[in-house]
């Protein structure tokens, strides 16, 4: 992690260079994900107007919307991860581990059971319900971790784990009370997956996720200031409470849109920012857009693995991200305990306006 502890200072040229590299990586990953699937399809031929009818249907009606859904969900979860990590001053914070995805899932499931919002036409209702669930989870975790006036990182994670268990128990309760028909729909909100990504889902995500990332990016200088503590940030003229509130809501909204379409996909917000941090450092101004682009590369690739590993069968992409994410999480905990508890994100960096 020498790169993370001695990052190059933030500059416009470096920002453009990192962003350009990120865009290239994301485009290559999306193209590669389009090329691989359960069936052999000549993607190049189809995209240049050729290919058989079956190939066109598989690539354009199935694979393309799914890859785009994966890119948008991956970007959103990774950016939300960066925002939560900076805001909560904890490198292990992540929508899934904080119970925020679990809250969103329960919100989505309740909207299905209470309002019958299982079909595609109810995507907006489900997104709002997921957002309410995300915000309730976040409020609970945050309220528990800040009792006594200061934010305690260890308590935060423990509270996240417990709140997540609570929401999972809530899902189990709904599942046992639900009809078999409803419990079928609930299954999706436990495992997560990108197979529901159709054109409508892509449109909703294409509005919410880039807008959310743009807002988070705009506030990233304040997030960077917060890394050095609230007092320092206040001295630098940052509206700490306002930024915190706005960032919480927007990062939760991005998470909620992802959960409403794909269910809870774990660890993306953890693995991606940490990998990216090794290359660009911890400054949220650089880390946030770079992680969003890397997330847009990571999830489609993980989903391509989930689609092809057992073909013609499939497994939910959440299985792949958990297989990568859980060991990465443990590794981070081990490293953290070696360096002492309480370390905050980017604590060694200098702040430049």
């Amino acid at each position: 992690m020498t790169a993370a502890s001695r990052p190059a200072p933030f500059s416009r040229e470096r920002f453009v260079r990192v962003l350009a590299a990120g865009v290239i990586v994301a485009l290559v990953a999306v193209a590669a994900s389009l090329a691989f699937g359960a069936e052999r399809v000549d993607a190049f031929a189809v995209l240049t107007g050729g290919g058989t009818q079956v190939e066109r249907e598989i690539l354009l009606s199935l694979r393309l919307p799914r890859v785009l859904t994966g890119a948008l969900v991956g970007a959103g979860l990774a950016a939300a991860g960066v925002a939560f990590q900076a805001l909560l001053r904890n490198p292990l914070a992540e929508p899934y581990l904080l119970g925020i995805s679990g809250g969103g899932s329960l919100g989505a499931v309740l909207s299905i059971v209470l309002l019958g919002a299982g079909g595609a036409g109810f995507l907006a209702v489900r997104t709002v319900a997921a957002l309410v669930g995300c915000l309730v989870a976040l409020w609970l975790v945050y309220a528990i971790a800040t009792r006594g006036g200061t934010l305690r990182p260890a308590t935060l994670l423990l509270a996240g784990v417990v709140v997540n268990s609570f929401f999972l128990a809530g899902l189990a309760c709904v599942q046992f009370a639900a009809t078999p028909t409803e419990s079928q729909a609930i299954l999706r909100w436990v495992l997560g997956g990108l197979e529901t990504g159709g054109p409508r889902e892509v449109v909703v995500l294409a509005i919410v996720v880039p807008a959310g990332i743009a807002l988070l990016g705009r506030w990233s200088p304040s997030l960077h200031a917060l890394v050095f503590g609230e007092e320092t940030a206040r001295h630098l003229g940052v509206d700490v409470d306002g930024v915190r509130r706005r960032t919480f809501v927007v990062a939760s909204a991005v998470t909620a849109a992802s959960v409403a379409v794909a269910g809870p996909i774990g660890f993306v917000g953890l693995v991606v920012p940490h990998a990216v941090r090794m290359f660009v450092g911890s400054d949220p101004r650089m880390l946030l857009p770079a992680s969003a682009l890397a997330g847009a590369a990571f999830l489609p690739i993980a989903d391509a693995a989930a689609r092809t590993a057992l073909a013609p069968r499939e497994m939910p992409v959440g299985v792949v991200t958990a297989m990568i994410g859980a060991p990465a999480f443990l590794l981070l905990i081990v490293r953290r305990s070696e360096r002492g508890v309480g370390e905050t994100v980017g604590g060694t960096e200098s702040f430049r306006g």
Binding site: E39, L62, S165, P180, R307, P312, E314
Partner: protein, 311 residues
Amino acid sequence: MEQVLHQTHPLVRILLATALAAGVAACGPPVPHATPAPSADANTAARPIARRVVSLAPAFTETLIAIGAADAIVGIGRFDPEVPGRAGLPRLGDTFSVSLETVLALEPDLVLVASKGSADSLRPASSRLEVLAPPIDHLDDALAIVADLGRRTGHDREAAALAATIRAALDAAVSRARQRAATGGRAPKVLVVVQSHPLYVAGRTSFVAELLRAVGAENAVDDVEQPWPMLSEEAAVARAPDVILDASEGDNATEAGRAALLDNWRRFPSVPAVRDGRVLVIREDAIFRAGPRIPEALAKLESLIFPEDHK
């Protein structure tokens, strides 16, 4: 239709239960190893006749009704059919949750459950209860259960008659299939869908795949050994099924849901079933249930797959 799920999606429900259990009770005690239930064809000659039966799965309940043993039923599962003339029978739970105390209070001399997990949850009362969890996934299972329940409830003759009816229907279906093949008819490739997002379909070892073989149709997913695999949509399109029987749970219950299922398939006009208008959204629980309605299931499948024979 609600009952269908408990017969159609055992894999899915087990997956869900496992996922929830892993999240909720990751540190819980290990689950005791399931004790194999007595097999359906065990020697029951010396056993007294069961007069108070709790039946916690639709196929068992339907079988008891069909062999004239409805009077012996004292409790049924949450999703079982109504027992004729026995309105108000207590409903006791399902495959995944059954209350031992409630079952014991009914003082049954026989309890029928569909899973080893339910049998395990009744184990503490094994000295007072006879619990059976016979396999219920195949044609042979259905015939074995009919015979066994006939013996246990003292309705051997009715059970033998029912088994004969089932066998005759099977033989007749196979014979008609041979005739179709002899007259040059190609076996149509059929995709049976039980859930659309994600896509779960009938694999080689499912009950409905056995029925397809019996009526002379080819299961489009016969190369996957599992009963209910989660299939890639790409693979579903590439296999070019001639007929798609879409029994997606929930979606098939409403007019809007059925229209949405058809719209979902219309994206793939290269698929013969779509091109020829042979995507059929169905709500047929009989074709998923290894029980006494096998003749009905065979007739239904034949009418759906070979409509020209039923004009």
